[in-house]
């Protein structure tokens, strides 16, 4: 049995469900918004992992679940719980259900897209950059410092530089301009990450096991993800990656213990790829909708054991 989980109307989940339907692969859906009518028991021992799942009126043996794709929202923010007091039975049940589901995902032998622990590398961009470099992809020249003089020297060396958060919070890329220089003293309170601006074309690579879908993005702003908010535009088109770069993307995804990843590259004038980050829970629907790349089909085939 294949189990999907999340908000049924969310685009990635809709596309994946459609892809499974098209392949005539049966699945069940854990609808987070109806978590009140679900329950789970998990048992871990010397004989392995077992347990039972009650899902919207049906019962399943956990050992019978072959593959899982979860794209869960923070269960504490579910609209159905909005009016519930903090320790209400409904909130306690939701929290306990989601926690047990997460624990199961980490220990089950099923194909899981993606387990929680491997997603952690994205919580520290500079840490992840070191892992990326170990798989043969170039990473931007990076300086993290709380010394304004070091920042100015770095800018002198590299010309244009950008700054962005190190964690996954407030992760917007911004070019360092004269206004920023004027307030550079504020870095003394907390180290800040600066990077040399990398020339080239942005490419988002979605890897599903050994399937690779590369999308080139042409944009007139520094961070194309926020093109509309910044008054710019972004155009997407499917491209074929050079074989050696595609191979490194596959190796990187597997090396990070991920099955599915959204890898942000910039291909420079020399044809070499610089990797900015690996997103372990990519909202691939934006790219599929703009290019018709069959990313959801790759996911469906993986879940069905055909990839």
């Amino acid at each position: 049995m294949i189990l999907l989980g999340g908000i049924p109307s969310e685009s990635p989940l809709v596309l994946l469900a459609e892809a499974l339907d098209a392949l005539c692969v049966p699945y069940r859906l854990f609808n987070q918004r109806k978590c009140a009518d679900c329950s789970i028991s998990l048992d871990v021992g010397a004989d392995g992992v077992s347990g039972a799942l009650q899902l919207h009126g049906e019962s399943f043996d956990l050992c019978g679940v072959d593959a899982i794709y979860f794209r869960l929202m923070d269960d504490r923010l579910l609209p159905e719980l909005e009016d519930e007091p903090n320790a209400s039975p409904a909130r306690r049940h939701s929290r306990a259900l989601h926690d047990t589901l997460y624990r199961w995902l980490e220990v089950t032998d099923a194909r899981v897209v993606n387990r929680s622990d491997p997603q952690g590398s994205n919580s520290s961009k500079p840490y992840q950059a070191q892992l990326i470099a170990s798989y043969g992809l170039r990473v931007p020249e990076t300086l993290i410092t709380n010394d304004p003089a070091e920042v100015l020297a770095f800018r002198q060396t590299h010309g244009s530089i950008i700054y962005k958060s190190m964690s996954s919070v407030r992760s917007i890329v911004k070019k360092l301009d004269d206004k920023d220089i004027a307030r550079l003293e504020s870095v003394r309170s907390c180290p800040v990450q600066f990077q040399a601006l990398v020339p080239g074309n942005d490419v988002r690579v979605h890897v599903v096991a050994r399937d690779v879908h590369a999308t080139e993005i042409v944009s007139d702003v520094t961070d194309y993800r926020y093109a509309r908010q910044q008054g710019g535009s972004a155009t997407l088109r499917a491209i074929n990656l050079p074989e050696d770069i595609a191979r490194r993307c596959i190796a990187l995804t597997a090396g990070l213990d991920l099955v599915f990843a959204g890898i942000d590259l910039r291909i420079g004038p020399d044809g070499e790829a610089t990797c900015f980050e690996v997103n372990p829970s990519p909202a691939f629907s934006f790219y599929q909708a703009n290019t018709d790349q069959p990313i959801a089909t790759s996911l469906a085939r993986y879940l069905a054991g055909a990839l």
């Binding site: 329950s39 010397a46 624990r103 220990v107 840490y127 070191q130 300086l143 993290i144 190190m166 309170s189």
Partner: protein
């Protein structure tokens, strides 16, 4: 060679951070009141840093404290990882001195490593927070895997030495405390593990094993 001890208080007082990543690899230099630490000069790390220095966080307003904490955690993870020397333990996104796993994950890993494990159960009727708490057990004993050695009571080290080393390896923790307790049938079973085991009870054998692992 005398070791440099960096306490949480020392780290909170660091005046200069310089961490680089790029074509030349990764490096770290930190300047604090007692001197300078250069990543390339570090020969081994006994890493017992579980949390960010709490006093540093108080420098920020409540509105920015959470963000600053996440940024600094991301930074610590990166600079600790960049130290090329042996680390006991290497930092992970799930813990600065090793992956602080849930009891269910330890039970699963330990079973796969070949250890007898106490059965772990969890359901949607349980309080998730309570499952992290371990009940004090008078019969509990700890063995410590460090590098290629396992230190602890002979009746546990004897039969489970290889399995303990497999667990340490699969968990990514070259230094791992593995707790056993007598189960109701009188058999020893693994109950949990710690990435920051109590070291003071290990005696000279543990000190030697730590020194060997740090020099590897």
């Amino acid at each position: 060679m005398s070791p440099t001890v960096l306490t949480s208080k020392d780290l909170a007082s660091v005046r200069g951070w310089r961490h680089t990543i790029g074509a030349a690899g990764a490096d770290i230099t930190l300047r604090f009141d007692g001197g300078v630490l250069r990543g390339g000069e570090v020969r081994g790390v006994l890493n017992r840093l579980s949390y960010l220095p709490p006093s540093w966080l108080t420098l920020f307003s409540l509105a920015d404290r959470d963000y600053a904490g996440q940024e600094m955690h991301a930074f610590y993870l990166s600079w600790l990882h960049s130290l090329a020397a042996p680390k006991l333990n290497p930092p992970t996104p799930q813990g600065l001195c090793g992956n602080v796993r849930h009891p269910s994950a330890w039970a699963s890993l330990a079973a796969r490593a070949g250890l007898p494990v106490r059965r772990f159960r969890q359901s949607s009727d349980d309080d998730p927070e309570a499952l992290w708490l371990t009940t004090p057990n008078l019969s509990a004993r700890t063995v410590i895997a460090v590098g290629a050695e396992v230190i602890g009571p002979r009746d546990l080290v004897g039969p489970y030495r290889s399995a303990c080393l497999r667990l340490a390896k699969s968990s990514g923790c070259p230094l791992l405390g593995i707790d056993f307790a007598l189960d109701i049938d009188g058999a020893w079973r693994m109950t949990t593990a710690s990435v920051t085991p109590e070291l003071t009870r290990g005696g000279e054998a543990l000190v030697d094993a730590l020194a060997t692992a740090l020099a590897a």
